[in-house]
């Protein structure tokens, strides 16, 4: 199911223009990360996808549905949405009831709904907490309850607003694994995130936003190497790309493994062709990529 935003502009009642003629096509099954500065319009854009916000001008289509003509309740069958702040989302008395709210409202038969709830809770590692009150859980767990609530709806499109916020290393890994599973199921995943390393490791396409506009959009390795566009959006490249640049390497590795493979290939090429040429071309202190990386690396 394709998503299409066509020249979408949106202003809040206060007059703040949050989106300015944003156009974006997302094909079925794509994994897209939206990154950019605080107040760039990322959440505003995401809330257009499930119809919580309607465009002032332009249009948003989810499949053949125009979000202005379809109720939020109906759109919920196509777009699962996980709020940035779980406390904006959770209201039931037990974790299981919370996660079952969506399936129940979609009119899914009771037995299937119970199955969906159980599955979703198992995926986020909270099956044991099914009968607890959501507010007796740690906030990082409440965030996973909110994620489970979206998973249980089994929607073709899942939108995650800052899914790794407040998670520890294990939690980030779990969220990454769920994103990878959704990708494997050919569901569309759209995540807003400030965790650029997470973004590099799990999303094939990256959209960079600033001041209500899209500054860059493309494959992760390319977009995450565009230092100027990223800087304009208050973002830095992920750790592995910054390291590769500091070492004068040509590639833009997205993962630790890719970086080490590139490094191994370079080392091998060096020892084969002799040290004179490669040894210096890659690591001269005057190399422009080195000084660029240095200027963003913080004080000593």
């Amino acid at each position: 199911m394709n998503i299409s935003l066509d020249g979408v502009s949106f202003a809040y009642p206060s007059g703040v223009m949050a989106l300015l003629e944003v156009s974006l096509e997302i094909a079925s099954g794509e994994a897209v990360a939206i990154i950019g500065e605080n107040g760039a319009g990322k959440t505003t854009l995401a809330r257009h996808l499930n119809g919580l916000l309607k465009p002032a001008t332009g249009g948003v289509a989810i499949g053949e549905w125009d979000t202005r003509r379809v109720s939020v309740a109906k759109l919920a069958a196509r777009v699962g949405y996980v709020f940035q702040n779980p406390d904006d989302q959770l209201f039931e008395r037990t974790v299981a009831a919370e996660v079952g709210f969506g399936p129940r409202n979609l009119g899914i038969p009771l037995a299937d709904a119970a199955h969906a709830v159980h599955n979703a809770l198992r995926r986020v590692g909270l099956a044991e907490q099914a009968d607890q009150h959501p507010y007796d859980l740690h906030i990082s767990q409440r965030k996973l309850v909110a994620l489970a609530a979206a998973l249980a709806m089994n929607t073709p499109i899942v939108v995650l607003d800052e899914p790794t916020t407040g998670q520890d290393a294990g939690g980030v890994e779990l969220v990454g694994q769920i994103v990878d599973e959704l990708k494997a199921e050919r569901r569309t995943v759209i995540a807003i995130t400030h965790d650029i390393d997470f973004c590099a490791e799990h999303f094939e396409r990256v959209v960079v936003m600033a001041e209500g506009r899209i500054l860059a959009d493309g494959p992760a390795a390319r977009t995450l190497s565009q230092v100027e566009a990223l800087a304009q959006a208050e973002v830095e490249p992920p750790q592995m790309i910054r390291l590769a640049r500091a070492l004068g390497m040509d590639h833009a590795p997205l993962t630790v493994e890719e970086f080490v493979d590139d490094f191994a290939a370079r080392s091998a090429a060096r020892s084969e062709s002799g040290p004179k040429v490669h040894g210096l071309s890659g690591s001269t202190p005057n190399d422009s990529s080195v000084s660029r990386a240095d200027s963003t690396s913080g004080p000593e």
Partner: protein
């Protein structure tokens, strides 16, 4: 500035302690980061240092906590408020809702301390500039994005100039450069003698870059305490769910594949990683 002795604490109605025999000292003017998996006791320790434990949460506390010469469990919260500032994990809980503008919200604490209006306005505006909210001073706090609200929560504490500033994941919703700016601002505040900082963070790269010292908690106990590079690569810390920087993981993988010297210490910052991976025989290439 901070002294914690054999601190053991259990929340009311819970069978197990959230903190077990925690002991450490922080001298004035140190930037100390607190790391650990979720529910390892980091937030609980923040509450114990700022007096919310035991005054607000009650529960069972033993041991000693003293901050700036004040015996925390024996000092009323109102008196502690001028000395210790706590920035909550969830900024949505910190905005009072009692002020109509960002500037008013930033000045709220100063109002309660009876600071003259002219001084309040100057300090509020200075602090808003420090956290990157100058352009939004007249907006309603409720019309800010998540990250902007978090900057405001931070400003509302910094503006009070407490001797000890305790921050519980203050950058969780900030954009990457904003995060780095907050770390740099805190480091500057510490360097200028303005405060002693205790910071809970999961963003290990910036902890490594800016903190003087790292304390690691696991299961309510202190498991490591020392310089960032050592603590963040300590096997027991990594295994406790804190994770590792990508720099350290790449270095460990390269080492396992025999691509680098086997005895080189793992890096935690970009500069350390650049050194780690730089051709070690560069000298040989130069005649």
């Amino acid at each position: 500035m901070i002294s914690v002795r054999d601190l053991t604490y259990a929340y009311p109605l819970t069978p197990t302690a959230a903190l077990w025999n925690v002991t450490f000292d922080v001298p004035a003017g140190q930037f100390c980061a607190l790391v650990g998996a979720n529910q390892s006791g980091k937030s609980t320790l923040c509450y114990a240092l700022s007096g919310f434990i035991p005054h607000f949460y009650h529960g069972t506390l033993s041991g000693e906590v003293s901050v700036a010469g004040l015996d925390v469990p024996a000092t009323p919260l109102a008196q502690l408020a001028g000395t210790v500032g706590l920035v909550f994990q969830n900024p949505f809980n910190q905005i009072t809702g009692a002020r109509m503008t960002v500037r008013g919200e930033a000045a709220f604490g100063l109002e309660n301390m009876g600071v003259p209006r002219s001084e309040m306005l100057v300090r509020a505006d200075e602090t808003l500039a420090l956290v990157g909210l100058s352009g939004l001073a007249d907006r309603s706090p409720m019309q800010l994005s998540g990250g902007q609200q978090q900057r405001l929560a931070l400003a509302s504490m910094i503006v009070m100039r407490p001797q000890v500033l305790i921050l519980d994941e203050p950058t969780s919703q900030l954009d990457p450069i904003g995060t780095k700016e907050v770390f740099a601002a805190l480091a500057r505040l510490v360097a200028s003698g303005g405060a002693t900082v205790i910071l809970v963070e999961h963003k290990l790269e910036w902890v490594a870059e800016f903190a003087d010292r790292v304390i690691a908690l696991a299961g309510g106990q202190l498991v490591a305490d020392g310089p960032p590079r050592e603590v963040l690569n300590a096997p027991e810390v990594v295994a406790s769910g804190v994770g590792q920087t990508r720099y350290a993981r790449a270095a460990a993988l390269a080492r396992a594949r025999g691509l680098v010297q086997p005895d080189a210490a793992l890096p935690v910052t970009l500069n350390q990683a650049s050194e780690f991976f730089a051709p070690r025989s560069l000298d040989e290439y130069i005649p």
